[in-house]
């Protein structure tokens, strides 16, 4: 093992078995340089893991500030301006710098090639580039934050953002624009990887559901993100040069901005949830030691969500002055998108039937996901009902809806993935009791934080309110109390996972005793994943199960 800078050697044609290749990817060089210039998808995944975790804490700190401020009706902690900046930066960071990249760039990057029997993603250098782009975008956002922040909300509605707001709108728009390219490159890479780098025998029917959902996610990343990019570029131009496309004073149309923004941002919510669904499919099958019920439907529903998800964006604009006919169409299409979600939820439940359920941390996180996603999703349907949305639009009901899916759902899945694949990534086990405990604490803290917000919202408490009517205080205090539990619960894994880095028992190849190509290689995996390209013959989740009525 000499130089760590293993840029792929173009002359090394055969799949040779050098010692370096058998060694774990973590050992392939210890210098900073060997990490910062790596093209190994697993190392890039670790780089992402570190960066998105950082952003999660920045976004979480903003959330802590919001919740602390809302303990009193007068909002005594922050100024009006300060509060507006806090939730804007919370939204921007959580959405674009944590949740959208979270699962795809960390677990997707790490596992996709392993799961399909490839030695890397299709374009390894592009993969590294997309991390750098992401970091640049993130740094600009952090700079904007330090320089004074923005106060437009994460939605940048015009003409507030283009002419009236006085924060660093251009800076943040540019930062998100840049981060968007990182998304695009990741999506592009995944699509080509899944199409072209599957191992022999790995047909589409053999793909793990995690791969299916990442494929669907990548389609959205690639087709939706450019629209966001151009929209933000137009916002910046609008602000800098008085472009006027979104400004009624010049004959432009503010709703055009909303159409463009939501054309991206609704599909983007599926960018945030589809990878989580992929994770949960894996966790459910692994916990039950049983094939996922109705594999084909679950796989197909990911693609269906990705496609139908593009047809519903107008449900964010029911009271924005959109034509009522358009609203009706969008309302109906929003119901259609619930069908594939229903398939997933019910099939997961059916998978548990007659399984051998291991009550380990992955199961608890998966169960949290399913339960909270169901509540978040069904309240999403309530929002899609026109007459209901007219009342609850832009109230805390919406805030509760999306936190149920994004925090209760996706973040739980993210932690579930962390607990399930940690032994693979690091090669060490962590204490399971602690995992179960933090899953329970997160679940409890979460519900305490966000359930009261449904009530607040239905009563009519508008969102983005720094000062509110005193009678709402009880519910807000409950919510803030929940948030403090949640904060502690989210910090818990940091301790025992760090502890396991050093003191955990070696995990071995397959600590959970589950199926999947990623579990056939050593933990942590060697640099080029597979000594020789695996030949796939078994269907995914090929657990031995007692069957009846089999021909």
């Amino acid at each position: 093992m000499t130089n760590a800078l293993d840029a792929p050697d173009p002359h090394n044609a055969g799949i040779s078995e050098t010692r370096a290749e058998r060694e774990s990817y973590l050992r392939a060089g210890h210098t900073l340089r060997s990490w910062l210039l790596t093209t190994d998808h697993k190392r890039i995944a670790i780089l992402y893991l570190i960066s998105v975790t950082l952003f999660f804490f920045i976004g979480g700190a903003a959330a802590a500030l919001i919740r602390a401020d809302l303990v009193t009706p007068g909002g005594d902690l922050l100024t009006n301006e300060g509060y507006n900046r806090a939730f804007t930066i919370h939204g921007v960071i959580m959405v674009w710098f944590f949740l959208i990249p979270s699962i795809p760039t960390t677990f997707g990057n790490f596992l996709l090639p392993l799961m399909i029997g490839a030695r890397d993603v299709a374009f390894p250098r592009l993969n590294l580039l997309s991390w750098y782009i992401f970091v640049i975008g993130g740094l600009i956002t952090v700079y904007a934050l330090i320089a004074g922040g923005v106060d437009t909300g994460w939605t940048f509605y015009t003409p507030l953002s283009s002419f009236f707001a006085n924060g660093h709108v251009v800076l943040v728009a540019v930062a998100v624009f840049i981060a968007g390219f990182s998304s695009i490159l990741t999506g592009l890479n995944f699509i080509v990887t899944v199409h072209k780098l599957r191992a022999p025998g790995m047909t589409w029917r053999h793909l793990p559901l995690f791969v299916w959902s990442h494929y669907a996610t990548s389609l959205i990343l690639v087709l939706a993100t450019p629209v966001l990019a151009i929209t933000l570029a137009l916002i910046a131009a609008e602000r800098l040069f008085g472009l006027g496309i979104f400004d009624p004073a010049l004959g432009g149309d503010p709703l055009l901005f909303q159409h463009l923004f939501w054309f991206y941002s609704h599909p983007a919510v599926y960018i945030m949830v589809l990878p989580a669904m992929g994770v949960v499919s894996e966790l459910v099958a692994a916990s039950a030691r049983k094939p996922v019920f109705g594999y084909a439907f679950v796989a197909g529903s990911s693609i269906a969500i990705a496609i139908i998800g593009f047809l519903v964006w107008g449900h964010h604009m029911f009271v924005a002055g959109q034509s009522m006919y358009a609203s009706t169409v969008f309302s109906f299409l929003s119901l259609v998108v619930a069908v594939p979600s229903a398939i997933k939820v019910y099939n997961w439940t059916a998978t548990l039937h007659k399984g051998r359920i291991a009550l380990d941390p992955p199961f608890f996180f998966a169960a949290s996901f399913i339960g909270l996603f169901v509540i978040g999703g069904l309240t999403g349907l309530a929002l899609a009902m026109l007459a209901i949305d007219v009342h609850v639009h832009d109230t805390y009901f919406v805030v509760a809806h999306f936190h149920y899916i994004m925090v209760g759902g996706t973040v739980s899945a993210y932690f579930g993935a962390l607990h399930y694949w940690w032994p693979k990534m690091i090669g060490r086990k962590y204490p399971l009791v602690w995992g179960r405990l933090s899953a329970a604490a997160i679940f409890f803290g979460f519900n305490l934080t966000f359930f009261p917000q449904f009530i607040l919202g239905y009563l009519g408490m508008p969102r983005r309110y720094h000062v509110y009517d005193p009678p709402f205080q009880v519910l807000h205090v409950l919510s803030s109390a929940g948030a403090s539990i949640l904060a502690v619960a989210y910090l818990m894994p940091a301790f025992y996972l760090f502890y396991s880095l050093r003191y955990g028992d070696p995990a071995g190849r397959n600590p959970w005793g589950v199926t999947g190509l990623e579990w056939t290689v050593p933990s942590p995996p060697p640099k080029h994943n597979f000594m020789e390209t695996p030949i796939v013959t078994e269907l995914p989740y090929d657990y031995h199960v007692e069957r009846e009525g089999e021909q």
Partner: protein, 314 residues
């Protein structure tokens, strides 16, 4: 405390009760659709947990008819609710023709209401009970959203055009009124009171408020002071269309289209005259974009609407 919450939760209109009923129905459906998931997950986790002996023989891991039924059946339920919700929503777009018309101007960070008689109020809206009220809303700067929780209604107020909202409040009392669309620094302070009065109290309230003449009269003053009458007046030599009876009638445009002259059209004619040119007239009307504010335009619109002489169609 509960007293305070009640003023938010009250249903002050028939529509509000309908919405609450709809939400109750929907919540029931949510319960029916989600309870099986929770119950079964818990049940399976206990019954089939690892190490516990249990009968685990089961058929092949798929059953297309089962999967189809558990996606289609909930969907059909939801379609039922969709129809219900959409019918309710469509009502919001069908104001009765005799509604009391109040104009609303939103700006950072206040609400200005103006009654037909010219009574003005800020951050407070007084309306008579059991009479339909129609709001024509304009924004002076950014997007705001008029939110009246007791009516279960809200509508964004978008700069550059008029949006509308109508309701019939049926329960006298004092409720809340808020801005629901984030509009900058003092967004959370942009609220006030929504007061429903009996007809008698409303009439008394109207009389107590000071007035500089009705909305239309104020519009008439503006119409003269800004020189509109110079072109549109009957004695004018300029070839400009007469405005009597314009409101509500179809207008043929220069490029062959035909539009109904509603408030929005009249507004655009004043502020963006180049946009829709009435057929057969020169492109001569100057823009008043930087001259008039939204409140003044609303007054002019009220005045033009009051010119009800039947119009001879060209």
């Amino acid at each position: 405390m509960t007293q305070g919450l009640l003023t938010w939760a009250t249903e002050a209109s028939e529509h509000a009760s309908q919405v609450d009923l709809l939400l109750t129905g929907f919540s029931l459906l949510v319960f029916v659709l989600s309870a099986p998931v929770f119950v079964l997950m818990a049940l399976f986790a206990i019954k089939y947990r690892r190490g516990k002996p249990a009968d685990r023989t089961h058929p092949v891991n798929r059953n297309i008819w089962m999967e189809i039924s558990w996606s289609i059946v909930p969907f059909l339920f939801i379609v039922g609710v969709f129809v219900w919700a959409t019918v309710l929503y469509a009502d919001l777009y069908r104001p009765p023709p005799d509604a009391l018309e109040i104009s609303v101007v939103a700006k950072q960070w206040m609400w200005k209401f103006e009654h037909p008689g010219g009574q003005r109020e800020i951050d407070e809206l007084h309306v008579p009970a059991n009479e339909p009220v129609k709001l024509t809303m304009a924004s002076q700067d950014v997007i705001h959203s008029l939110f009246i929780p007791a009516l279960r209604l809200k509508q964004d107020v978008v700069p550059g055009r008029y949006t509308k909202m109508w309701f019939t409040a049926n329960r006298p009392g004092t409720y809340h009124l808020a801005c629901a669309e984030f509009c900058g620094t003092n967004h959370s302070l942009m609220g006030g009171r929504f007061v429903v009065l009996t007809r008698a109290d409303y009439t008394r309230w109207l009389e107590q408020s000071d007035v500089d003449g009705s909305l239309a009269d104020q519009g008439a003053v503006l119409f003269r002071s800004h020189g509109c009458s110079g072109c549109h007046g009957s004695s004018s030599t300029v070839h400009a269309p007469p405005l009597e009876g314009l409101y509500g009638s179809p207008v043929p445009l220069d490029d062959g289209r035909m539009v109904i002259a509603d408030e929005g059209y009249i507004r655009d004619s004043i502020l963006l005259p180049q946009q829709d040119i009435a057929a057969g007239y020169p492109h001569d009307m100057p823009t008043f974009r930087n001259v008039l504010d939204e409140g003044e335009v609303l007054k002019l619109v009220a005045y033009i609407k009051s010119l009800r002489k039947p119009r001879v169609l060209p």
